[in-house]
């Protein structure tokens, strides 16, 4: 796998569920893989002060975010014996119930795939300059902060 090449992470709008199936299918020829681990982030209809979130509009400091994604990939490949790793994150509006983050790690064995996947998710949430505007059903909004 071309693990050193910077990859495009951002996708416009929601990540289609079909992308997950396609990604799995694309790895069936790589028979040194014995385990995939997948994390999917889905937009939750949080209720805040009596108002319900209907969508999150994501924006990012894209150039910096792409370089941090690359650093996270480099760190993950040096920490974990993974065969490959793919990350996709939405930009723009993603409605509740739709997917905004897709992390896909593969390894010979399950433990490494799972640990690496978790590492990616935690690093992305903590260190990538992505911002989320939570839009309520009444079209007001507030800015999301990761917990």
């Amino acid at each position: 796998m071309d693990k050193k090449k910077p990859k495009k992470v951002f996708v416009d709008g929601a990540i289609p569920p079909e992308k997950i199936a396609t990604s799995i299918a694309n790895h069936q020829s790589k028979t040194n893989i014995g385990a995939h681990s997948i994390f999917l982030g889905q937009i939750r209809a949080d209720e805040i002060d009596g108002k319900t979130v209907s969508a999150i509009e994501y924006s990012a400091y894209e150039e910096m975010a792409e370089s941090i994604f690359h650093e996270i990939r480099e760190a993950a490949f040096s920490k974990f014996d993974i065969t490959c790793a793919h990350i996709y994150h939405s930009l723009g509006e993603v409605k509740t119930g739709e997917l905004c983050l897709f992390v896909f790690t593969s390894s010979a064995h399950r433990k490494i795939a799972i640990e690496a996947c978790n590492y990616f998710v935690e690093e992305i949430k903590a260190n990538v300059p992505i911002f989320g505007k939570e839009i309520f059903e009444d079209e007001t909004h507030q800015w999301k902060v990761n917990k």
Binding site: M64, H89, L101, P129, I130, F131, G132, K133, W143, K144
Partner: protein, 78 residues
């Protein structure tokens, strides 16, 4: 000297713009610029703001002509 300043998320909303070029005195620090803009645009939750200079968050240095300074609110990816 001129620096290119970028604003994101809630900060861009407070500033009413996503970027601008500012003419600063030579020797201005990141901290000076941060305080100046927070006051100018009445940006809330100043303690939660991180500043990236040329995409680097570790930047306790003087600004240089041509630097790109980004005002980043708390991250919310995932």
């Amino acid at each position: 000297m001129k620096v290119n300043v970028k604003y994101f998320g809630a900060i861009a909303e407070s500033a009413g713009k996503s970027e601008e070029v500012l003419d600063l005195e030579k020797g201005s620090s990141v901290k000076d610029l941060k305080n100046q803009q927070i006051k100018k645009y009445q940006i809330q939750d100043a303690d939660s703001i991180q500043i990236a200079v040329n995409q680097d968050l570790k930047n306790e240095v003087e600004l240089k002509d041509g630097d790109e300074v980004a005002f980043l609110p708390p991250f919310a990816g995932g």
